[in-house]
């Protein structure tokens, strides 16, 4: 696989919650680089800091220290360097969650098109792109259906379509296959790999699912907030 530019560059990032006796160090001096086209698994026991690291890279949590550069753009260096983190998330980052988190009052197609609408795409063009992605993920026939009527696998694929709709270069997935059976999980990971290559994106996935480990380029192990193996 062709590996491209560094899309995620985390340098000496630390994150702690609380102070004094109640202080919990979720991340300690974490350094991580992820390049375009790479699919990385974040592994580790519960409480090791996997989701915290994902949230820091996704600009949802303030790091306590360190430097974060996304797609060559320094976003954090002791403090946030950009005031429009919402726009940064919209343009550069796609999120996939353990549960699909689709908006229940919108159809599958509208859920995907919503992101494009927020970016400012014309409505018709947005729907066209949404339909194209859903077709690609083999759920195009479920486009006019509300999430409540979708199966787990279908809903997760719609969520993946939403995360990829505006071609973000950084895709963060928190146990995206946890709600799927092993066959579906491998299918979803194959799709993510394919899309990562096609869109020159990188994918960071928190997972415990050993059956899909062979789908990753690298396995990154976290323990007590530190990167222990890479």
């Amino acid at each position: 696989m062709a590996i491209g530019d560094v899309l995620v560059d985390v340098q000496g990032v630390a994150k702690h919650f609380g102070e004094g006796e109640t202080r919990v160090d979720a991340l300690r001096q974490v350094d991580l680089q992820v390049r375009a086209g790479e699919v990385i698994a974040l592994l580790g026991p519960s409480g090791s800091g996997k989701t915290t690291l994902l949230n820091v890279i996704g600009c949802i949590l303030d790091p306590s220290a360190g430097r974060v550069v996304l797609d060559g753009d320094p976003v954090f260096d002791g403090k946030w360097l950009r005031s429009d983190l919402r726009r940064l998330r919209l343009d550069k980052i796609g999120f996939i969650f353990q549960s699909h988190n689709l908006l229940p009052f919108l159809t599958a197609e509208e859920n995907v098109a919503l992101v494009l609408d927020l970016v400012g795409w014309p409505s018709e063009k947005g729907r066209e792109r949404a339909r194209e992605l859903l077709d690609y993920l083999e759920v195009g026939h479920r486009a006019p259906v509300k999430p409540a009527l979708l199966s787990g696998g279908e809903a997760q694929r719609v969520a993946i379509a939403r995360a990829l709709a505006n071609r973000p270069r950084i895709i963060l997935a928190d146990e995206p296959t946890a709600a799927l059976d092993s066959k579906r999980a491998q299918l979803v990971m194959d799709l993510l790999r394919k899309l990562a290559v096609e869109q020159e994106a990188c994918i960071l996935t928190v997972t415990h699912d050993e059956k899909i480990f062979d789908r990753f380029d690298r396995l990154v192990q976290l323990r007590d907030g530190r990167l222990v193996t890479e």
Partner: protein, 200 residues
């Protein structure tokens, strides 16, 4: 009974004076006969005057007011006092009901919107995460509140249109028993062209 709800008796001036002097208690009259003291002199609180048609009421009341210890009120003045006191008080009391209803409704609607918003915290978090601006999220909540309000208003209006005739029938029944609105008693009590009142 007068418009304020107090008992009132209307009679001629001569009768009023006779009532207060000639019908004084027996022991008082005995004392008076013994020369121990005079029977209480007659006093009148107010005199109602019926004037001839075409009389200048303004002139009459102005003339009476020249005596500084007298007050003179025309029918119009009394109607104004009535409106400013009794009717205005009733209007305020009636106006209080919509006020209370509005306040209670506002609190209930605010609680409903708050609960509905809290139930959607996960969806709001998702929207924020994918980069939706705050105005979009606020817009969704406001839209929901407006739909809720419009639905409530429509249902309320439909109910009013449905039951208003029944309310009108009830009002008529109550009026026929002289229990609901003093309009008829007002018209008879205030029918003379003008009234002038004052102590003599």
């Amino acid at each position: 009974m007068n418009s304020g709800g107090d008992p009132a008796v209307y009679m001629t001036l001569a009768d009023a004076m006779a009532l207060q002097t000639e019908l004084a208690p027996a022991d008082q009259r005995v004392q008076a006969a013994r020369g121990g003291g005079a029977v209480k002199s007659a006093s009148v609180a107010a005199v109602i005057v019926r004037v001839q048609p075409g009389a200048d009421i303004e002139l009459l009341t102005a003339t009476l007011r020249q005596w500084k210890h007298l007050a003179a009120l025309s029918q119009a003045d009394q109607e104004e006092i009535l409106l400013a006191s009794v009717v205005d008080k009733a209007r305020r009391q009636i106006g209080l009901f919509p006020g209370i209803l509005l306040t209670v409704s506002a609190v209930v609607i605010a609680l409903i919107i708050y609960t509905m918003t809290m139930e959607k915290l996960k969806q709001i978090a998702t929207l924020k995460l994918i980069g939706a601006p705050d105005r979009t999220i606020i817009g969704l909540i406001v839209q929901q509140a407006l739909i809720l309000g419009a639905s409530g208003w429509s249902i309320g209006l439909a109910l009013i249109l449905l039951v208003r005739t029944a309310f009108r029938a009830g009002w008529c029944w109550s009026r026929s028993t002289s229990a609901c609105w003093p309009a008829s008693s007002l018209s008879s009590a205030w029918s003379p062209a003008a009234w002038a009142c004052g102590p003599r």
